[in-house]
């Protein structure tokens, strides 16, 4: 049963994926502490290694076109285990939303609004998110394309403006770190930005996609997102060099260095604007997924009444996830790739395998979209006429 009757196009879905990935721009700080000047290599490797994972998500979407992730788990694992996993996934989406909202508040407080209380900053964002969620996926993803292009523009402009300060030698020496660092970096990049796309499976019923279209939009979306992350990383490495691992926000430091005469300097506000857009959007998608998940766990007919309380929960939950930002960054670097793998890889993979073994989904009148479009019948008018 569809809770949200709104529909979004494949193109909008693709930009949603891209923008979701771009919002992991903050992640570059975790990665650079692992792989230093070779941070671009795990991005390339993870773009390749994440393709099977993306294909898995796409396949689940195509196999169960009218079902969200929780409904898929209900059907595949059965009502009891499906519900247990459902509760875990609800916690997972809430945790991601809370972490990202907290990051937004921390960033705004540290850089732009130092006196404003943290709770005011996150509450204001949460209220707008709640408003968008109440009005459905169409509103949540309405500006995905625009925001994506704005982010492309910001990255491109800053690339050009700092080009004269770039030193290609900062990318050297390459491939000199222990192999475990590349493995860790690749694992981190695969699990944290790309793996979190599992949340897109909560949007499945609202997206009209054939098999071919699903493949196209998933892979183009992921590729565009990863390209943006790659460009950001390469820019930061070439500018900051060996100081890159020191900074918590390397992108911000890079933008601060733009200095073309008196007029074109101090443009780090673009970073603030970009990051605010990115994180707001990511939190909106995650809150939407959480609200739908809650509604489906309790089998209610509507989800709109839960949007506000979910938003408030995300606000109050953020500060208690970690005891400090140092612990957060250490955990993100060392443990989270393994922990998130349970939600992003192992459970979806298990679901796929069991679905295949049990030959699910069973073809019914409710899910005709599973079938490929039939060719139109041949016209026999001429033959009849000749008779």
């Amino acid at each position: 049963m569809r809770l949200d009757k709104s529909q979004i196009s494949g193109t909008r879905f693709m930009f949603t994926i891209t923008f979701f990935l771009q919002s992991s721009a903050l992640l570059t700080a975790f990665l650079s502490s692992v792989a230093q000047q070779d941070s671009w290599i795990p991005v390339v490797l993870s773009t390749i290694s994440c393709m099977p994972l993306v294909y898995l998500f796409r396949t689940l979407m195509v196999m169960f076109p009218e079902k969200t992730l929780l409904e898929m788990m209900d059907e595949v694992f059965g009502p009891v285990i499906g519900k247990i996993f459902g509760v875990w996934y609800l916690w997972f989406f809430l945790t991601l939303a809370a972490l990202n909202l907290k990051d937004l508040g921390d960033f705004a407080k540290a850089t732009v609004m130092t006196e404003t209380p943290h709770v005011v900053l996150v509450l204001l964002c949460a209220l707008v998110v709640v408003w968008a969620v109440r009005h459905g996926l169409k509103v949540v993803t309405r500006y995905s394309a625009l925001f994506t292009f704005i982010e492309f523009g910001i990255v491109a402009v800053t690339f050009v403006l700092v080009a004269h300060q770039m030193d290609f030698n900062n990318l050297l020496p390459a491939f000199q770190l222990p192999p475990i660092k590349y493995l860790q970096g690749t694992h981190l990049m695969t699990m944290i930005p790309v793996g979190e796309l599992v949340v897109m499976l909560m949007l499945t019923p609202c997206v009209k996609l054939s098999r071919t279209a699903a493949t196209k939009y998933w892979f183009i979306g992921v590729t565009m997102g990863m390209l943006t992350l790659f460009a950001i990383l390469v820019r930061d490495i070439m500018i900051l060099g060996n100081t890159l691992p020191m900074f918590t926000l390397p992108g911000l430091v890079t933008m601060r260095l733009v200095n073309l005469g008196e007029a074109l300097s101090r443009i780090e506000i673009l970073f603030a604007v970009g990051l605010t857009m990115l994180l707001f959007f990511k939190v909106a998608v995650l809150c939407y997924a959480s609200t739908i998940a809650l509604a489906q766990l309790f089998k209610t007919k509507s989800y709109k009444n839960f949007a506000l309380i979910i938003g408030v929960l995300v606000v109050v939950y953020g500060p208690i996830i970690y005891s400090s930002t140092v612990e957060q960054s250490t955990s993100a670097r060392d443990v989270i790739p393994f922990f998130w793998g349970v939600f992003e890889v192992w459970i979806p993979l298990l679901m796929f395998i069991i679905a295949k073994i049990r030959k699910l989904p069973k073809k019914t009148a409710e899910n005709p979209r599973e079938q490929e479009p039939q060719p139109p019948p041949r016209r026999r008018v001429k033959e009849e006429h000749m008779k």
């Binding site: 732009v112 130092t114 006196e115 404003t116 030698n169 900051l240 100081t243 020191m246 430091v253 601060r256």
Partner: protein, 392 residues
Amino acid sequence: MITKGKRIVALLLIFMMLPGLLSGCWDSREIDKLFIVTGIAIDATDDPDQVDVTMQIGKERKGEAGLGEAQTGGSSTIVLNTVNDTIMGAIREFNRNSNRKLLLQHNPIRLFGIEVAEHGVKKHIDLFLRDQQARLEVPVAIVEGRAADVLTGTLDQDPLSGMFVAGLLEDLSKVSVELQVRMLDFVSRLLQETVAPMMPIIAVVGEEDKKEIKTVGMGIFKGDKLVGRLDNDQSLGYIWAMGDVSQFNVKVQEGIDKAILHVSKLKTKREVTISDDGVVKVKLSMEGGASIAEMEGFGNMTPQNLIPHLKDLAQEEMKQTVTEAFQISQGLNADMLAISATLEQRHPKKWEKIKDRWDEIYPTIELTVDANLKILGTGQIIQSLEMEEAMK
């Protein structure tokens, strides 16, 4: 479906909320509640655990614009000074004892007294890396004597001495980026333990009320401690060796004959080789185009012989200057040309084997310098007046 009435109410609520939400009232900082810092100076005190912090504040002008400088008469700056355990402690003290808050975001220069530089600057730069207001592209410099003298003295050149020094270094950066060392550049070199950070040295000269600020060379650091220096001429050798230098002069002299060649652009190619037994050789190849800016003498030469002769003299002069600067750095065992960084980038495996012995290897590095200048022009005239007279 939202009714028209609800829509109007919603719009009214939004219009009422927007001024409060968008004005950032919690973080509002009016200019009359701010002290805009135009220079920071760090000096040593008798107590090694304390630091002397001086901040120059630019006063905002009162009255109508365009009526000239001192509307109220008197200085254009306020100077705050205190001694504290840390720089942040000093900032808090300034803020506590004033009705205005210090704004560091527009601070254009950070100065270290020579004594602080000699004892080590690392412990004094953490705030400038950590604080979100402090910017990493701000240049740093050492002051001969006390850094506070730059900010406290009445300068003949500019009332805002901090801004003046920043402008001076900005102009020098157009000649070579190596002459303006930003905090980021200094820290980058500091993090590479085998590379010597550099910092320009300035001095305050002249009498009271008519002081001038001049650059006197470059300071060479080993780690975070100042261990030696290059004077202005030797600094040319350093920047020529690093390359990408624009608009500079090479002075050549032969007896009483002198000439100044103006070089518009110099590029330097660097080849660093390392043999299996750890012998490091560096070859610098400098290439540039020059024109004769000024000449005195050379009356016994014809124009056809003059150009190649001046070229040879200039090339020789450049080679000697670079070699001399390099020998000074070898004497200090401070890798100011970042040869170790090049080795690490280009020959990482060989570098791993020798990096622990770098202090033994650096003084033994063989440097070969090649210079190739093309004399592209002679200005509006070809022959000097002496040459014209000699021809008659």
